[in-house]
Symmetry: C2
Subunit: 366 residues, 2 copies
DNA sequence: GGCTCTAATGTGATCGCTCACATCGTGGCC
DNA sequence: GGCCACGATGTGAGCGATCACATTAGAGCC
């Protein structure tokens, strides 16, 4: 067995004390420089900075977190696996968080199973994240968070039916004014999560209205899974718009967001004689396009299709897809702002209808 | 100003000492239970566990990291924004890491700009991650990591031309055997990152061979950005397969992975008289399909198209896309295994060709 | 000049945990 | 019976930062 010396030199990374010694000041002055405290003479500050540079000093975040009780970590809870929308939002959240000095820890729940969600939440809480952004919320997720009621503020990216109280308290204190007592809001506050979302309801109405104004009267809806808030919002918007126009839906089916499910659901709409279908996302719309093709139904001649999201590929589908654009990145940024700054951040993002070639007037309408 | 009492009750979360007192043991015994040290009598262990439960004790990870010098955090460096492949891999890495008791911190570099990459890397290093998985590596990223040569082991998900030495040392020590000296391998080791990848080269050969065997002789390649390792590997595979068959490329263009760029590049292939194009990913292939449609060229009658990745949507493109399937999730898992367990983990994932309707024999070939 | 006030810096304690080492019993062995 | 080894537990130190509280040195004013 080889005896190994502990390398008497610089075995350990430099600490504030090493820097202090090198700069000829006290460790506390080094700390002041680190946190740019005002009462440090410029000359002194420079000496310290030089010493840091020379020693390749890196502050130890664990030590800081220990004493300040602030981890400076934001958790992201996602149930998505690789879809465009959530992934875009996550990237935007991460960028925004980093710009504000936070790190981002992700936890993906495998699916909708309660156990998996619980475990992911537990993981984030154990990490003592200072806040959680929920990216693809099913009501279960929110229930879990509310039930445990860890003192961790959280925000959902999608719209929430019950916009509850407590949102004003959910903001994290900003850098300077952190009080230790903010970590124990165990008095049941923060039950409902404030939501920042693209206004799904409005988006769905836009899509539906577009079809109606083209002259369609037999309009179907291909919804997402009923346990997704996004799915129910879009469905509600669809129904509201139809109702406002005195129409009734020509079939409502539910998919699982995938193109496969869109393809599978298509026959139901054909059978119901729908001349137009509003799909709850672009992928499912693509499945519809494919099924229509296979069934010999021309799009938009025999069937108009509208999607939702405006993924980068939607404009290249055949035919290019009419859809509702969501700004996932902006939504992510706002969610973070809401979490960090409190409820005064802008609440939702306006969706826009993008008309392309997958919609047209019905073949032989009135 | 309101005077606020510090709430004499349970202002602070429970610590090992609180648990120790409640269980009637010493703090060290609590620590032993936490780390399931063998020398604790079952009865004692149970007492401690009960006390933890009663006090809702959660270990403070910062404190543990401080004393052990192990953060148990894995960093993911990604340059992708919301694409299917990287996002899938990230999700898989996260799941695998969590299963092994690690947390995952992500840092997205905005683009290819050096500054952005540097900043992301710095961020991860400042967090004292124990290892970095690079998800969408450009050579620049690797150069940055190698140059700084922080003592942080890293692994790339994609194949790397120069498979260098040092991979054997890059593995993290497993739980029990962590020595503090492992954190300063500043002796230039770990220069080249061991790579775990779908064998891009092979995948490209499969795609190209498929076209050649259908009888195509004028085959073009729509590559990805030349500063992506994936792109160059696929290009190399394409060229190798053509060369092996005595063919020369009917045009090579480079896109940026997006459908838009695929659409834009299409005309060059039409002009060059290509009867088949191998696109470096599915999105660009979709752009080609769209452009062919707009140009009145039937697919596959007038042009065969092969993609790469097999995104979930590819089978619903019109026509359904022949492509090369990559198992992103498995690659992610293996990358993590490589990072954690060292070089003996399986090195690459086999891609498979999925033949669908976008390829056929050329119109009037020999 | 002597006083106070503030800016600039230093000293010691502390966060919650693990590590190294000390202590105590108990069983096995000669 | 005495000794040793080992299992089970306790004690104190220290990780690297910040915080609360000294302390010092000028500046401003009467």
């Amino acid at each position: 067995m080889v005896e190994r010396m502990p390398e008497p030199g610089k075995a350990r990374a430099a600490s504030v004390f090493d820097v202090a010694k090198a700069a000829g000041v006290s460790h506390q002055t080094v700390s002041r420089v680190l946190n740019d405290h005002p009462s440090v003479r410029p000359a002194t500050r420079q000496k310290v900075l030089d010493a840091m540079q020379a020693l390749q000093y890196r502050p130890n975040l664990a030590a800081r977190a220990l004493v300040t009780s602030r981890s400076r970590i934001i958790g992201i809870l996602s149930t998505a696996g690789g879809e465009y929308g959530p992934a875009s939002s996550v990237a935007a959240i991460e960028a925004a968080a980093r710009a504000r000095g936070y790190s981002v820890n992700i936890a993906n729940a495998d699916g909708v199973e309660q156990a998996s969600i619980d475990e992911a939440v537990e993981h984030l809480v154990a990490l003592s994240v200072e806040g959680i952004v929920i990216v693809a919320p099913q009501p279960q997720v929110l229930a879990t968070l509310a039930a445990h009621s860890f003192g961790v503020p959280f925000v959902t990216l999608q719209a929430l039916e019950r916009a509850g109280a407590g949102s004003a308290d959910a903001g994290l204190p900003d850098a300077g004014v952190a009080g230790p007592e903010m970590r124990t809001p165990d008095a049941g506050a923060g039950d409902a999560a404030p939501a920042v979302a693209v206004d799904q309801h409005l988006g769905a109405r836009l899509a539906t209205a577009h079809l109606a104004e083209l002259g369609h009267t037999r309009i179907g809806h291909l919804a997402g899974p009923s346990d997704w808030i996004d799915a129910t919002s879009r469905l509600a918007g669809f129904e509201a718009e139809l109702a406002a126009r005195g129409l009734s839906p020509a079939g409502i089916a539910a998919g699982d967001w995938s193109s496969d499910s869109g393809y599978a659901a298509a026959s139901a709409f054909f059978a119901a004689g729908a001349t137009a279908v509003f799909a709850a996302n672009d992928q499912m719309a693509l499945g519809l396009l494919h099924a229509a093709q296979d069934a010999g139904i021309p799009v938009p001649g025999g069937l108009s299709v509208v999607g939702f999201d405006d993924t980068p590929e939607a404009r290249h589908y055949l035919p290019p897809l009419t859809t509702v654009r969501q700004d996932f990145a902006e939504a992510g940024r706002r969610a973070l702002a809401l979490l960090l700054d409190g409820a005064d951040a802008a609440p939702s993002v306006e969706p826009v209808l993008v008309v392309r070639a997958s919609t047209a007037a019905p073949a032989r309408a009135s």
